[in-house]
Amino acid sequence: MTSLSIRTEKKIIDELDRLASLRQVDRTTIVKRILERGIDEEKLELAIYLYTKGESIGRTLDVSQCNIWELLDELKKRGITKHFDLEDAKEIILSTIGKNDSTLQDKLNELK
């Protein structure tokens, strides 16, 4: 364990003491709980930010260290759409299932 000291407004200290008293714990315990929860929230926000900036899901997880289930749930909840680009998708389809299918290739190339 190591210690951390911060300067903050009196109203924050009063609120911490009020919460600690209601939960029947000391001020340190309530601060630790809030910090732990805040760190998890911050990791999730960082992950969402990175994903919306174009990082892959995997890279987003590595950097933010958040949990994948929570991230996928949160992306869904916030209505953040899965990364997509029509030209990239066509390229992927043509080089996979469309590789030996000339009809599919023609139809795909017609799509704008």
Binding site: S56, L61, D62, K82, F84, L86, A89, T96
Partner: protein, 162 residues
């Protein structure tokens, strides 16, 4: 044999596709990082689908392979890189669900699949009918917030392929 990354594994479980994928490819392989991301990191957090993933692992439906050579400088996540490396090393397909990872996989000549391409494969091989394909597509669209254009594209492809 097919390799599966973390988000693809999660979506495959949510769509009840694991048995279909096993029937198509015989073996479903994940990497240690994928196991860590999908199962170990959320132990005791009550994610029911993570428990299902663990059961698949215990039953041998999903197996873990370790990659000997990890491809470097791909600017992807460790789990995605492990799966691409394994697919290259063992010369087999892999399911990647992120378009950035898919593009890198294609550049590296990996036999790439995605959840949507698996659905098309099931339709093409007449394992599922068009109606079921469209239902699974709609469900997947809800789970991942698929853009309208991607949903439209895969509906069109379903009509073309059936």
């Amino acid at each position: 044999m097919i390799k599966v990354d973390s988000s693809s594994l999660i979506y495959a479980i949510k769509l009840n596709l694991i048995e279909y994928i096993k029937n198509l490819y015989n073996e479903i392989i994940i990497s240690p990082i994928v196991k860590k991301e999908v199962i170990d990191n959320v132990k005791d957090k009550g994610y029911s689908d993570a428990i299902i993933a663990e059961q698949f692992l215990e039953q041998g439906i999903i197996k873990i392979h370790h990659s000997k050579t990890i491809i470097k400088n791909l600017n992807l996540g460790t789990g995605e890189i492990e799966i691409i490396s394994l697919a290259k090393e063992e010369d087999c397909p892999c399911i990647l669900d992120d378009i950035k990872a898919q593009k890198i996989g294609i550049k590296l000549n990996v036999n790439l699949k995605s959840i949507l391409l698996i659905l098309l494969e099931l339709l093409k091989k007449k394992i599922i009918a068009l109606k079921q394909y469209n239902q699974l597509l709609e469900k997947y669209a809800r789970i991942v917030n698929l853009s309208q254009i991607e949903l439209w594209l895969y509906k069109k492809l379903g009509d073309l392929i059936q």
